[in-house]
């Protein structure tokens, strides 16, 4: 077998790859020279792929501290004439929103692409926002691929388009593109490597009111050129069918589902289709042509009615008497599927669905009540489980002094530790966005009379935790901030961050200590605990919560998965714990009810530890009131 990789210059060869690898490959083919990102599902593997080939292909690749910085790094590269990309998940674009709104005024010199990986159905996110609206607000054109092959081709092209129109582009992926897989035919790799240089140009790059007024009309002119050009873009394709009464406009991945639905219904000869690869701006001439040729139109797109609204505006302006359907038939929530679109088309064409969906649904409905929930959980040996337990014990102790029925409040954040919101720990009260645990804690402190213990992870702390920590100091918010430091961005797959001591490409880097940052920012109570040294951890947390002023505790223990990998590499054996059945009490359920460790199960009325899952952390042994859990 020939060994091809994502960095092989082998045009015409076919490789099976993940969507995010295809996106990275597109950037490689375009000769990208700078890539920056902050990890976030479903975007992470794009930068990881580029990091692996960075040295070989002379690409500067970094994990930035957050998405705002990542975008600014890419923007700077573009200003200096290099091809650059910032990649992030949809909510990451919110963090980069500030520079983004002025980046449209700047445009681009070297090709500049912002990759937004949207997450319909919020598989791994706090919301399912549709970032095409952000692009519209910022006058940024959007490219949206219908397949993984097109994602690769489009990405390679995006940098050229950006340079042709001197404007930045948004590339909108979705979970099923980024985390889809497909065979992809490789294209040619650009060998061009430019030397970037910064040329001072205050009229272009210093945004005071004068430059804002000067550059906005120029931005609008650039955008008008793009609006005209998308009518001839290969990513927008109109296929008119003679005598068709129904036209379908399908944007991005929806186009693939739509074609499958039309084939399934065998209606190819009765429907006209407009494929949209640039939802913003729309190819107005093509849209108009379709609208004029049919009596009814169905707009198919995932999430919000972005294309639909614009199509309706085009029809209204041109006075075209056509009935336009969209979100009346296609769900606004979640992912689309071949089935959803099949049903919508069947309704509009009064045709019979190819299979009896009601029969399938009936079986699914009958089955649903039988299915036990299987939510993701923290791993056996996860230090976060111990931290949450210690926080709970300490906070409840202090809460008693506030009043009989006072309960502590636990604002939480984005990361693995948030899984403790599930039973039995239920140790997280709010989850909103990166850094919001400290921010919400700040607000609560001035309103509620209860212990407030906010928690966030180490990577999140560097990303968005420092300003709200300073805010607590300056505005005297009496909260306890616990940084759950497992020395990894664990949820997304162990990417480095400012505390880990290495960069995206594996080079050594300064390792910032969270406790040093906190002290430098004026927090007067700062301590470090080991969550597996339970008694000491609880005592320290109690002192922190009682402290008169903002306090910060770093709960430091390596991520269980990394710990296991390190042990394996060193040849160390995990020594699991077991339950002494004699000592274990039938009346007690403490280990199960307090910790929720997947390695502990029930056998009869007593607990039992699955030795193949146990990683020997010993937390349960410290919690057991009967001293019934012992190491093998």
């Amino acid at each position: 077998m020939k060994k091809l990789t994502l960095a092989s210059d082998a045009p015409g060869e076919r490789l099976f790859m993940l969507g995010n690898e295809a996106i990275a490959r597109g950037a490689i083919e375009a000769g990208i020279q700078v890539a920056a990102a902050y990890p976030g599902t479903p975007s992470t593997e794009i930068l990881e792929t580029l990091a692996k080939v960075a040295r070989e292909l002379e690409i500067y690749v970094e994990w930035s501290v957050n998405e705002k910085v990542a975008f600014e790094v890419a923007l700077a590269a573009s200003i200096c004439g290099l091809r650059a990309m910032a990649s992030m998940k949809h909510v990451g674009v919110n963090v980069a929103h500030d520079p983004l709104m002025t980046a449209g005024y700047i445009g681009a010199k070297g090709g500049l692409v912002l990759l937004s990986a949207d997450d319909p159905w919020a598989w791994s996110s706090q919301n399912e926002q549709d970032n095409r609206y952000i692009a519209e607000q910022a006058y940024i054109p959007v490219l949206e691929p219908s397949s993984i092959q097109e994602a690769k081709d489009m990405m390679a092209d995006a940098f050229k388009l950006s340079e042709e129109f001197k404007h930045l582009f948004m590339f909108r992926s979705v979970t099923r593109i980024s985390h889809g897989r497909s065979d992809v035919i490789l294209g040619q790799m650009s060998q061009e490597r430019r030397a970037g240089s910064f040329q001072k140009n205050r009229q272009w790059l210093n945004y005071t009111p004068v430059e804002a007024r000067l550059n906005k009309p120029l931005m609008l002119q650039r955008f008008e050129r793009i609006r005209e050009a998308v009518n001839a873009s290969p990513y927008n394709q109109l296929r008119l069918t003679d005598g068709a009464k129904l036209g379908i406009i399908a944007s991005g991945l929806s186009y693939s589902y739509t074609l499958e639905a039309i084939n399934w219904l065998e209606l190819g000869d009765r429907i006209s289709v407009l494929k949209i690869g640039t939802p913003h701006p729309l190819p107005e001439k093509l849209v108009r042509k379709l609208l004029e040729s049919v009596g009814e139109v169905l707009v198919v797109e995932e999430l919000d009615p972005f294309v639909e609204t614009h199509v309706k505006a085009i029809a209204g302006e041109a006075n075209i008497p056509v009935k336009i359907h969209g979100k009346d038939l296609i769900p606004r929530i979640g992912e689309l599927s071949t089935r959803t679109i099949t049903e919508a088309i069947a309704r509009l064409t009064s045709s019979k669905p190819p299979i009896d969906f009601t029969k399938v649904d009936k079986l699914s409905e009958e089955t649903a009540p039988l299915l036990p929930r299987r939510p993701p959980t923290m791993c056996p040996g996860c230090p976060h489980r111990a931290s949450h337990y210690a926080i709970g014990v300490a906070a409840r102790r202090v809460a008693r002094d506030y009043g009989k029925d006072v309960e502590p409040i636990y604002p939480g954040d984005i990361g693995c530790y948030n899984l403790a919101y599930n039973p039995p720990q239920e140790a997280v009260d709010t989850t909103i966005c990166m850094g919001a645990s400290f921010g919400i804690g700040n607000g609560l402190a001035h309103i509620v009379n209860a212990p407030i213990v906010a928690n966030m992870g180490d990577s999140t702390f560097f990303h968005a935790g420092i300003p709200p920590m300073i805010n607590a100091v300056v505005n005297k918010a009496k909260i306890t901030m616990v940084v759950l430091d497992n020395s990894a961005t664990a949820m997304t797959g162990f990417q480095p961050h400012p505390g880990t001591g290495h960069t995206a490409t594996g080079e050594e880097a300064p390792s910032l200590k969270i406790e040093d940052v906190a002290r430098a920012c004026g927090v007067k109570f700062v301590e470090v605990i080991d969550p597996f040294d339970l008694k000491k951890a609880i005592d320290t947390l109690e002192r922190a919560i009682r402290f008169d002023g903002p306090s910060l505790v770093v709960s430091r223990r390596l991520c269980a998965i990394l710990d296991q990998r390190e042990k394996q590499a060193k040849g160390e054996k995990v020594v699991p714990y077991r339950v002494d059945r004699e000592r274990c009490s039938e009346k007690c359920n403490a280990c199960i009810d307090l910790l929720g460790c997947p390695a502990i199960m029930r056998e009869g009325k007593k607990a039992i530890i699955d030795s193949s899952l146990c990683n020997g952390c010993g937390l349960c042994a410290q919690v057991c009131p009967y001293k019934a859990i012992i190491q093998e």
Partner: protein, 205 residues
């Protein structure tokens, strides 16, 4: 060339579902077939439910298998197979590993695990055939319970309808594992293949 062959693999994070789809996808490409697929990464790897799709053929465009259109559903775990029942149709084949992975919500008493007979009855009603295996037990025979996913892959080829050549998938297994682990996994594949053939023969008699 085959028009459309849809495989859904359902299991629990850590069971090697993603590896199975990678091996299948790479083998399909080697055999000159078009292939699409999808899985949910991220949250799902933390012990949650995982499902992955692999679609082969020149009629395939989208990453997800449409409702009622699975040719094969591989259930790495009984409840997870049941969770994906909507993919099944009268002609579908289910390959079921009958070894349970009890979710933590059951330990907590928050939910209960259905009887295995109930699960098989529901799956049988929704599909054309359910092939039952004890994958970890077979994998142990091959040398390691960790190869349960490769046993299931062998069973998938045992049904004899796949557009991928057995030689190609074996080459993929061979090149994916180290020299030490490759023979063990090839053995696991063969045992899974034979177990499935044997069950199907038994059904036909």
């Amino acid at each position: 060339m085959v028009k459309e062959f849809n495989i859904v693999i359902a299991g629990v994070g850590g069971q090697g579902v993603i590896l199975m789809s990678e091996l299948l996808g790479n083998a399909a490409v080697e055999d000159g077939l078009n292939v699409r697929g999808s899985e949910v990464l991220g949250m799902a790897v933390r012990g949650g439910s995982v499902s992955s799709t692999i679609r082969i053929g020149n009629g395939v465009l989208a990453p997800l298998v449409p409702t009622g259109k699975a040719n094969v559903l591989i259930g790495m775990e009984p409840v997870e197979a049941l969770r994906n029942i909507a993919y099944l149709w009268q002609s579908s084949v289910v390959i079921l590993n009958t070894e349970k992975v009890v979710p933590f919500t059951v330990t907590l008493g928050e939910s209960s695990y259905p009887e295995i007979e109930t699960i098989i009855e529901k799956l049988s009603r929704a599909s054309g055939r359910v092939v039952q295996l004890s994958a970890a037990q077979i994998a142990r025979e091959a040398g390691s319970t960790l190869s349960a996913n490769i046993v299931m892959l062998g069973a998938l080829f045992g049904i004899g309808r796949l557009p991928i050549k057995i030689k190609t998938i074996k080459e993929q297994i061979q090149s994916r594992f180290s020299a030490r682990l490759a023979p063990l996994n090839i053995r696991a594949f063969d045992l899974g293949y034979q177990a499935c053939r044997k069950t199907l023969k038994g059904d036909n008699q």
